[in-house]
C-alpha cells in the first residue's frame, strides 16, 4: 500500500486511529498503524526528532465523540508544530514507513454506538470515508458546531415514595446556537428516573424525545423524579445528542444518581434483649408511633428511630434528620443519641434536627425520640430524612405526642340489701390519681386501698382517663408492682404473689369507649393499674420491657382471712325489777373491756395481708368491725290481761316500722284508730353510732374495735371484737295496756334474732369512722355469727312477782365463715340505714 493510501486511511477516522493506537495497542488496528508508521511523538512527550514533510498529525478532542483530524504536515507546518515543547494531549505524530505493500487487509468493525457510556475508551471502527483536507488545519477557518449542554443544579434525585413528596430535580437541555437539525434526549438506564415537563404533574418526557433547534436554543427544562434507586453513584447518564444537517453532531452528557433514603420508626419493645421491630410501611405514618409527653421525672419512654443505609450504598452525601416542625420554636419531639433509650438527667438532646455526616453503615444509625409538646391531632408530628441542602423529604415517619391525665377510679360502694327509706348509695367515691401519676412508687403515687373481693362484677370499679389528642387508642392493663425499692416497701412478698394464679386483678375495657374500663378487686397485693397506648400490638403493657405511653393508678388489694373466732355468749337475758319497782330486761353491759359482762362477745382473730415485702403496705387504711343485723321482725312481746276479760289477752309486740309518727298512744304506741305500723322488714342495721350505715364503722356496734394490730412476718393479725347486751330501759316494759287501762302486764316473751358480721373496709384517710374517702362504703365480710336471745316470763299483777317460764338463754346458733372475705353485696348483710332502734315501736292495736 502506498503511503498516501495509508494516510488516507488514517484520515478517514483520525480519532479512531488515535484511540486504537494508544488505548488498544494490542489490537489489530494498532498493529497495522505500527506497521505503517513510526512514532515521532506521543501525547505529552517532547518532540525529540526533526519534523519532516509528510509526517502525519492525528488530532482529536478528548472527551468528545468527534471524528478528529488527520493532517499531513507541509513545510509550513513544521516549525509551528516543532515549536511546541511537548506534543499536546489529543495529538499523535506519526511518520510513514516506507513500504511496498501492506501485509494484511484492514479490519472492519461495527459502527460505534452513540450512547456508548465511555467515549474515550469505546473506540470502534467505521467504514472509512477518505476525506483529506485540502489545506492545513491550522489555517482553515472551522465552522463552530452547535454545542449541546445539559445542566442541573444537583446531579442526584431522590426516590419518591408513596408517602413522600421530594421536589423534582430541574434539568435544562440547551444548544449553543441555532442549527439545522434536532436534539435527542436519552437516558441510559430506563426505569430509574422519570422525567416530566413540569415541576408537578405534567407530561412525561421519555428517553428518545427530540427537541428542535428553537426549543434547545430557548432551553428545555425538564424535571426528574426518582423512581428506583441507582445501583451505583452516577450510573444514570443523560445525553443530548444533536443531529446537524442530517449528520450526527455533538452531544452533551450528564450523569445522575437516584438516591433512596430509609427512615424507620419502631414499635415498643416486646422483650428486653431484642430491639423493637420497625413499623410496617403502611403504619409508619398513620398511625405512626405514639410517645408520651416527657415529664421532669423522666417517666416516659422513647421511640427508636433508625436511619438505614441509603441506596446506592456508595452514596456519601450528608443526611439530615428533621422533625416535621423543626422550625417551630417549640417542636413536639426531640431527638437523643443511640445510647439514650432511657430518659435520665444529664442527657443532651440533639434537638429537633440532626445531620449524619458519616456514611451510613449497613447496621443503620439509631436515635431515640421523646415527646416535648402534646400533639394537636393524630400523627401531626414526625421526622423527615433528607439530604442536606438538597431535599428534606427522602423518607418520613409519623409521631403523635400524647398526654394522659385525670385518671380516676369510681368505687360504687356496697348497696343496701333492701333498698328503702331513701337508703340508696350516694355517688361513688372517686379516687383521683395525684400529681405523681406517672410514678410507680407507691410512696410517691399513693395507692387506692381496697379489700380483696369487696367489689362484685355487677358493680365494678369504673376507671376513666383523659388522653390528648383525641382519637388516641387506649388500652388498659394491670401488673403486679415489681422493682419497688425497699425504702418504699419493696415488692410483694412471695407468699402474697402465690395467693393467686392470676397475675393481676381483672380489668375490662368498656366497649365503645376505650377511655373507660372496669376493675375488680380479685387479687392480693400491689398493682399498677394503667391506661396505656399499645405501641407494639400485643395488647399488653410490657412492664419493665418498655414504657409505652401510660399513667399509673397504684392499687393495694388487701386480703383478710379468719384465723380464729372466739366469739361466745356470756349472759342470758333477764326480766327484773329495779329498786324503784320498774321492770327492765337487761342482758349485760356494753363494756368492751369487760366482755364477760356482756350478753355476747364477738371476738375474732383476723389475718390481714396487703402488699409489699412485709405485707403491710398502707395497712393502716384497712379496717374491720362487727356489723350487727336484726334478722327477725319481733323483739319483745308484752302480754296484758284484763281481769274482766282475761281471754284473749292483749299482745303488744315491739315492731320495727317506718311510720312512728302515726303512733299516737300515750307512750308512743300504735293504738286502735292509728294507721297500722308500716313494718320494716329485716335485716335491719343495729348500730347506735352517729349516722349509722353511712360508711366506715358507722354500721358497727358502738364498742366494736380492733383491739390490736400485731405485725406478722407478712401482714398483721388483728383481734376484732365487740360486745352486745340488748335490753330495755325502765319504762319500756310494764304498767297497764296503753288503751285498756284495766289490762295489766302478765307476760313477757323475748325472742331476739341477730346476725353479726365481721366486716372490712378501707379508708384512704386512715380513719375508721366515715370520712367520705375511698373506699369507706365498699365492704367485704369475713364471718357471720347468728345469735339469739330467748326468754319467757309471767308477771303476777297482784304481787308483781316475775316468774321464769322458760330458761332464758343467749346462744350462738351458727357461724359461717367466708375466708378470705367476700363482697357484702350479694350476701344478706345490711350495711345501709335505717338503723333498728329508731324504728322500734310497740304495736298495741290488737
Amino acid at each position: 500500500m502506498e503511503t498516501d493510501d495509508t494516510v488516507a486511511l488514517l484520515a478517514a477516522a483520525p480519532a479512531t486511529a488515535y484511540r486504537e493506537y494508544l488505548y488498544r495497542p494490542r489490537g489489530e488496528f494498532a498493529h497495522w498503524i505500527g506497521d505503517q508508521f513510526e512514532i515521532v511523538a506521543r501525547p505529552g512527550q517532547p518532540i525529540g526528532q526533526t519534523l519532516q514533510e509528510g509526517d502525519v498529525l492525528l488530532k482529536i478532542t478528548l472527551g468528545y465523540m468527534r471524528p478528529g483530524r488527520c493532517t499531513t504536515l507541509t513545510a509550513g507546518d513544521l516549525e509551528r508544530v516543532a515549536s511546541q515543547p511537548t506534543l499536546p494531549y489529543g495529538q499523535l505524530l506519526l511518520r510513514p514507513r516506507r513500504r511496498v505493500e501492506m501485509s494484511e487487509p484492514l479490519p472492519v468493525e461495527p459502527v460505534v454506538d452513540i450512547d456508548e457510556p465511555n467515549p474515550d475508551r469505546g473506540a470502534a471502527f467505521v467504514q472509512p470515508t477518505i476525506t483529506v483536507p485540502d489545506s492545513s488545519v491550522f489555517d482553515e477557518p472551522q465552522p463552530t458546531p452547535p454545542q449541546p449542554t445539559i445542566t442541573t443544579k444537583e446531579a442526584l434525585v431522590l426516590v419518591r415514595k408513596p408517602y413522600t413528596n421530594p421536589a423534582r430535580r430541574r434539568v435544562v437541555l440547551k444548544a449553543s446556537h441555532a442549527f439545522n437539525g434536532s436534539g435527542a434526549f436519552t437516558v441510559s438506564k430506563p426505569g430509574l428516573i422519570q422525567f416530566f415537563d413540569a415541576a408537578t404533574a405534567g407530561k412525561a418526557v421519555v428517553s428518545g424525545t427530540t427537541f428542535t433547534s428553537d426549543q434547545l436554543i430557548a432551553g428545555v427544562t425538564i424535571f426528574a423524579e426518582g423512581v428506583k434507586a441507582s445501583d451505583d453513584v452516577d450510573d444514570v447518564v443523560l445525553r443530548l445528542s444533536l443531529t446537524v444537517d442530517g449528520t450526527r453532531g455533538q452531544s452533551a452528557m450528564q450523569k445522575m444518581t437516584v438516591v433512596e433514603l430509609f427512615l424507620d420508626i419502631h414499635q415498643s419493645r416486646t422483650s428486653r434483649g431484642t430491639l423493637p421491630a420497625p413499623l410496617a410501611v403502611a403504619q409508619k405514618l398513620n398511625p405512626g408511633r405514639f410517645v408520651h409527653l416527657q415529664d421532669a421525672g423522666f417517666h416516659h419512654g422513647r421511640a427508636m428511630i433508625t436511619v438505614r443505609q441509603p441506596k446506592p450504598a456508595d452514596f456519601s452525601g450528608t443526611l439530615e434528620l428533621n422533625a416535621l416542625d423543626a422550625t417551630s420554636p417549640n417542636p413536639r419531639v426531640r431527638l437523643f443519641g443511640a445510647t439514650d433509650e432511657i430518659a435520665a438527667a444529664g442527657q443532651v438532646s440533639l434537638g429537633a434536627t440532626t445531620k449524619i455526616t458519616k456514611r451510613i453503615p449497613p447496621a443503620d444509625v439509631r436515635f431515640w425520640v421523646e415527646g416535648a409538646q402534646v400533639s394537636a391531632a393524630q400523627h401531626d408530628s414526625g421526622f423527615q430524612l433528607g439530604i442536606e441542602g438538597i431535599e428534606h423529604d427522602g423518607d418520613r415517619v409519623g409521631l403523635t405526642v400524647v398526654q394522659f391525665s385525670n385518671l380516676q377510679a369510681a368505687i360504687p360502694g356496697t348497696p343496701p340489701h333492701k333498698p328503702r327509706l331513701l337508703n340508696q348509695l350516694p355517688a361513688p367515691h372517686v379516687f383521683t390519681v395525684g400529681p405523681n401519676g406517672f410514678d410507680e412508687d407507691p410512696m410517691l403515687n399513693p395507692p387506692l386501698p381496697l379489700v380483696e373481693n369487696s367489689v362484685v362484677g355487677s358493680a365494678p370499679v369504673l376507671l376513666t382517663v383523659t388522653i390528648t389528642p383525641a382519637g388516641t387508642p387506649v388500652r388498659w392493663s394491670a401488673q403486679r408492682a415489681s422493682g419497688i425499692t425497699a425504702a418504699s416497701g419493696g415488692d410483694d412478698a412471695a407468699s402474697i404473689v402465690a395467693l393467686h394464679a392470676a397475675k393481676a386483678p381483672t380489668i375490662r375495657r368498656t366497649p365503645g369507649n376505650d377511655r373507660q374500663a372496669t376493675l375488680l378487686a380479685n387479687n392480693t397485693g400491689t398493682f399498677h393499674v394503667r391506661p396505656f397506648v399499645d405501641c407494639n400490638g400485643n395488647d399488653i403493657f410490657d412492664h419493665h420491657i418498655d414504657r409505652e405511653p401510660n399513667m399509673v393508678l397504684n392499687l393495694v388489694l388487701g386480703r383478710a382471712t379468719l384465723f380464729k373466732d372466739h366469739s361466745r355468749q356470756h349472759h342470758d337475758p333477764q326480766l327484773v325489777r329495779t329498786a324503784s319497782g320498774e321492770i327492765i330486761s337487761p342482758s349485760g353491759t356494753f363494756d368492751i373491756a369487760h366482755p364477760e359482762h356482756a350478753a355476747i362477745h364477738m371476738n375474732a382473730e383476723v389475718d390481714v395481708v396487703t402488699g409489699g415485702a412485709d405485707g403491710r403496705r398502707v395497712i393502716g387504711q384497712f379496717f374491720a368491725g362487727w356489723f350487727n343485723n336484726i334478722v327477725a321482725p319481733r323483739l319483745w312481746t308484752l302480754t296484758y290481761t284484763d281481769p274482766g276479760h282475761p281471754v284473749p289477752p292483749h299482745a303488744v309486740p315491739f315492731v320495727f316500722c317506718s311510720n312512728a309518727a302515726d303512733a299516737h298512744g300515750p307512750g308512743g304506741e300504735f293504738i286502735p284508730g292509728d294507721l297500722p305500723p308500716k313494718i320494716v322488714d329485716p335485716p335491719i342495721l343495729d348500730s347506735a353510732r352517729p349516722h349509722p350505715g353511712t360508711g366506715g364503722d358507722s354500721a358497727a356496734l358502738v364498742h366494736s374495735q380492733i383491739r390490736n394490730r400485731t405485725p406478722r412476718a407478712v401482714g398483721e393479725r388483728w383481734i376484732v371484737e365487740a360486745v352486745d347486751s340488748p335490753g330495755t330501759r325502765p319504762g319500756a316494759i310494764g304498767g297497764t295496756h296503753p288503751v285498756i287501762a284495766a289490762a295489766q302486764l302478765t307476760g313477757v316473751v323475748t325472742q331476739l334474732r341477730f346476725a353479726c358480721h365481721l366486716t372490712l373496709w378501707t379508708n384512704l384517710n386512715k380513719q375508721s369512722a366515715p370520712t367520705g374517702h375511698p373506699a369507706d362504703r365498699q365492704y367485704a365480710v369475713l364471718e357471720r355469727i347468728n345469735w339469739q336471745m330467748d326468754g319467757q316470763w309471767t308477771i303476777n299483777p297482784a304481787t308483781g312477782a316475775i316468774t321464769q317460764v322458760t330458761t332464758p338463754a343467749t346462744s350462738i346458733t351458727s357461724k359461717a365463715t367466708t375466708s378470705p372475705a367476700i363482697a357484702v353485696a350479694g350476701t344478706t348483710e345490711e350495711v345501709r340505714p335505717p338503723a333498728a332502734v329508731p324504728l322500734g315501736r310497740k304495736d298495741a292495736q290488737s
Partner: protein, 290 residues
C-alpha cells in the same frame, strides 16, 4: 409486761376513780334524732376514792357534772348510747370510772371522750383493790402467781387480767410457772370469772401469737378441759368445749395437738372428756382419727 393481745383495763387506765352520786337534777326526756331521746342536767358526784392517777380534787370533794343521757324513744337498748346511758344515776349510786387520765378535772374526765368505762362500783371494786394492792408491791412473777393463788377465791376477771398481763412473759418462758398458773385456772376454788379470764387470756395469746411451744398448749388444753367439765362452772362448758378447745387443738401453726399429746398419761381426764355429752364433737380427735 410485753406485747400481748390481752389487755388489762387496770393497767391501761390513767385514772380510776370511785364516785358516789350525791344529787341528780335532770330534765325530762326530750326527743332527739328520729327514734332517740335525750335528757340533760346536773349530777353532783362525790369522790369516794382515787384508785389510780390524780385529780385536782381530793376524796370527799363533790363535783357538779353537766351530763347528757341518751336513749331510744322506745326504751329498747341495742347498743351503747354513752357512758351515762347504761348506769343508774339515782343518788347513792356508786360508780367506778376508768378514764384516760389526760387531765385532772373530774368533770372533764367523766365524759364520753375521756372515760372508757363507767360501771357500777360493786362489780369491780373488789378486783381493783386486790390488784392495786399488789401493784404497789412490785412483785416478781413467781410472787404474783403466789398471790394470785392466795386470792383465787376473791379475784375476778379484772384481777385475773391484771395478773396475766404482768406475768405473761414469765409464764410463757417457763413451763413450770405456766403450770402453776394453770393450776389456779382449773382450781374449782378460783372464782369462775377469774378461771374464765385466765384461760381466755392464755388461749388468746397462744392462738394469736402462734409461738407457744406444744408443752404449754397441751397444759392449757388440760386446764380448759378440767374447768369446762367442772359441774360447778356450767357457764364455761359450752364456750370452752365448743369453741376454744377446738380452736386450740386444731391450730395448724405451730402444729396441731393430738389427744395423746394433750392427755398423755392422764387417762382419767381423757375419759372424762369422752363421757361428756358436750364434748361429743371431740370424739374423733380423742380416738386419734383427726
Amino acid at each position: 409486761m410485753t406485747e400481748t393481745p390481752v389487755v388489762s383495763e387496770i393497767l391501761q387506765a390513767g385514772l380510776i376513780v370511785h364516785v358516789r352520786i350525791a344529787a341528780e337534777d335532770l330534765s325530762s326526756w326530750e326527743a332527739e334524732d328520729v327514734g332517740y331521746q335525750r335528757r340533760g342536767g346536773t349530777l353532783t358526784v362525790q369522790v369516794v376514792d382515787v384508785l389510780k392517777g390524780r385529780l385536782d380534787v381530793a376524796s370527799g370533794a363533790t363535783v357538779d357534772l353537766e351530763i347528757n343521757e341518751r336513749g331510744s324513744a322506745s326504751g329498747l337498748v341495742f347498743d351503747f348510747y354513752g357512758i351515762w346511758a347504761h348506769v343508774p344515776t339515782v343518788p347513792g349510786t356508786e360508780l367506778v370510772a376508768f378514764c384516760d387520765g389526760t387531765g385532772t378535772d373530774l368533770a372533764e374526765q367523766l365524759t364520753d371522750e375521756h372515760c372508757e368505762q363507767l360501771v357500777e362500783a360493786a362489780t369491780v371494786l373488789e378486783d381493783l383493790h386486790l390488784a392495786l394492792a399488789l401493784d404497789t408491791q412490785r412483785l416478781t412473777a413467781d410472787q404474783l402467781i403466789e398471790e394470785a393463788s392466795r386470792l383465787r377465791a376473791r379475784g375476778g376477771a379484772l384481777f385475773a387480767r391484771y395478773v396475766w398481763v404482768n406475768i405473761r412473759n414469765a409464764v410463757v418462758e417457763s413451763a413450770d410457772r405456766f403450770a402453776a398458773l394453770m393450776r389456779i385456772a382449773e382450781d374449782p376454788q378460783t372464782t369462775t370469772a377469774a378461771q374464765d379470764a385466765y384461760l381466755m387470756a392464755a388461749y388468746e395469746d397462744a392462738t394469736f401469737t402462734e409461738s407457744w411451744p406444744a408443752e404449754l398448749r397441751e397444759r392449757l388444753a388440760r386446764a380448759m378441759f378440767r374447768a369446762a367439765l367442772d359441774p360447778a362452772t356450767p357457764e364455761l362448758r359450752e364456750p370452752v368445749l365448743g369453741t376454744l378447745i377446738p380452736n386450740l387443738i386444731e391450730a395448724a401453726v405451730p402444729e396441731r395437738l393430738s389427744a395423746h399429746e394433750v392427755f398423755g398419761s392422764q387417762a382419767d381426764l381423757a375419759e372424762q372428756v369422752r363421757s361428756a355429752p358436750e364434748a361429743a364433737h371431740l370424739h374423733a380427735w380423742l380416738e386419734g382419727d383427726e
